[in-house]
């Protein structure tokens, strides 16, 4: 085993998790509160500030009014609150469930190419040649956290939430998995880095005009790509339990669903797990449909450090757009009914995704036979 490889991989993992992912999760919560406040014509968090910050002339007040310190206060509160364990729960699973919710969301990031090169290191933690299958495998493990939370709580509302989430996540995983097959038919590879490189040259799948050289083919395949993207987007909302599909925790029916019995940091882990999986879903959408780290004009893998950093910046920028979309939709749309959700998944999306695969394959066959 190459020592260099071990060192750089560890470094990448630590940087991605502690410098990027965890702060992003914390500030996604803040963004959620600020955007919801904006949509509902409120102010949002604008009071928290550590003691000495307000002494700084203009900047201090400014940071306070944007609630920049709110996530720290929230985190501290979550740690210091009483961690109450009801006496009727199944202890082992009750402890295991929050961890199982948080981990898969982080593991999926491993195969995402979040930049091209930095120095001579590829900016992806694990450049697997079955990248996307790995992602789906890990995402499918995410359901255990919620199911076990529902089971461990040993009371009726969490249990109903757990059961709902099982059915919902399995249903939408199928639609989600089938929706991305056209992408792989077109690119002919399961490796996410290769998919991004191809999009950089021949146009993003969802926006074919963002290309180095315009090709007829990417325009002909545009409708298929858009259908794919639409199904993937909606399934991502269902997979992350976000409104309009947050049936596992719909508070008007189930109190808070699977996390009703949880308090303190265990509840916070569920809460952060939701945001972490939103981040990984956004990363997936950017990688699969919106050209990853590439922009027209910045399409070749970087050879200098500045270009490398720029690529990482582009990737994060695109990802933030999807995060805002996730948050914005939550405060705009009402919740679906459970049967509507199932109906949409099985009777609309699965057939549509299947037809989309067929059409894409046919178009590719005709184009390639010329």
């Amino acid at each position: 085993m190459d020592l260099n490889f071990v060192i750089f991989s560890t470094l990448k993992i630590l940087c991605v998790i502690f410098l990027a992912l965890l702060p992003m999760v914390a500030y996604a919560v803040l963004a959620e509160r600020k955007i919801s406040a904006f949509i509902q014509d409120r102010v949002g968090p604008n009071r928290t500030a550590p003691p000495l910050v307000l002494k700084i002339p203009i900047l201090g007040k400014f940071l306070q009014s944007w609630g920049v310190f709110q996530p720290m206060a929230d985190g501290l509160k979550a740690f210091l609150k009483e961690d109450f364990t009801p006496n009727y729960v199944r202890k082992a699973y009750f402890w295991l469930a929050p961890a199982l919710t948080m981990t898969p969301a982080f593991l999926t990031i491993a195969v995402i190419p979040f930049g091209s090169n930095l120095g001579n290191q590829k900016m992806v933690i694990a450049d697997l040649n079955v990248g996307i299958l790995y992602t789906f495998g890990i995402v499918s493990l995410g359901v255990y956290g919620i199911v076990l939370a529902g089971y461990a709580s040993n009371s009726k509302y969490p249990f109903l939430g757990g059961i709902r989430s099982t059915a919902q996540m399995i249903s939408y995983e199928i639609a989600m998995g089938m929706s991305v097959i056209p992408v792989f038919l077109v690119s002919g590879d399961l490796n996410l880095s290769k998919i991004v490189e191809r999009q950089a040259q021949e146009g993003w799948f969802a926006l074919p005009f963002m290309a180095q050289q315009q090709t007829m083919m990417s325009y002909l395949l545009w409708p298929c790509a858009l259908i794919s993207f639409f199904i993937f987007l909606v399934s991502a909302f269902a997979e992350t339990n976000r409104l309009p599909f947050d049936l596992p925790e719909s508070e008007t029916e189930l109190v808070a669903g699977y996390n009703t019995e949880y308090s303190s940091i265990k509840f916070a882990l569920f809460f952060m797990g939701e945001y972490a999986s939103m981040i990984s879903a956004s990363c997936m959408m950017v990688t699969l449909f919106f050209g990853g780290w590439s922009l027209p004009g910045l399409a070749t893998p970087a050879s200098t450090v500045i270009a490398g950093l720029l690529h990482i910046g582009v990737f994060i920028g695109k990802m933030l757009v999807f995060m805002v979309l996730f948050i914005w939709v939550r405060w705009m749309l009402p919740r679906f009914r459970y049967d509507q959700l199932m109906d949409l998944g099985w009777r609309r999306f699965v057939p549509l995704a299947l037809a989309n695969i067929l059409v894409t394959a046919t178009v590719l066959l005709i184009l390639n036979s010329k």
Binding site: Y93, L128, G137, S140, L141, V147
Partner: protein, 170 residues
């Protein structure tokens, strides 16, 4: 020993240990615990597949078995009333059939170890990396008929399930 060897022993031990705990767990007779250990067994087997460079198989193993099949198992276990199952004692018939199948597996392992290992002692490591394309080519060229028959079988099972789950047939 290389890192791969250590990983092999870790994953093999995990597979065996978790597999053991699925059926004979001294601490709990809760079916959910068994199911969760089965998930762990499946995941550690996926680790073994990775060490054999069968990345596709490993990913599909986790995706299909750990991610979908076992979740449905849990779903069913959780919906059933399991008090009776928890109390059920080990039965003689089950013990005998279990022993026989364990003996059979042991026989195969011993035969591989004692006889087959002498036939071709220097087997080469697989050279295929990942092998999605290679696997597809083999499936759709050499084994097309069995593959299609299998998919037909699955279709029949699916139609059967839908038929059974319909309450009123028109």
């Amino acid at each position: 020993m290389a890192a791969q060897d250590y990983l092999f022993y870790i994953f093999a031990a995990l597979t065996l240990l978790c597999g053991f705990l699925v059926v004979v767990n001294p601490f709990s007779r809760n079916p959910v615990t068994s199911a969760m250990f089965l998930v762990l067994t499946i995941v550690s087997m996926a680790g073994l597949f990775v060490l054999l460079h069968a990345f596709f198989l490993a990913a599909v193993q986790i995706l299909v078995y750990a991610g979908a099949v076992m979740v449905l198992f849990l779903f069913v276990i959780m919906l059933l009333d399991l008090k009776e199952e928890e109390r059920r004692k080990i039965r003689f018939f089950g013990l005998i059939t279990g022993l026989i199948s364990v003996m059979a597996v042991l026989g195969v392992v011993l035969k591989t170890y004692l006889v087959d290992s002498k036939l071709n002692a220097n087997l080469q490591l697989p050279t295929i990396e990942g092998g999605t394309a290679a696997l597809g080519r083999i499936l759709f060229k050499n084994y097309l008929l069995p593959f299609e028959i299998l998919s037909l079988l699955l279709l029949v099972a699916m139609v059967g399930v839908i038929l059974l789950s319909k309450k009123d047939l028109k």
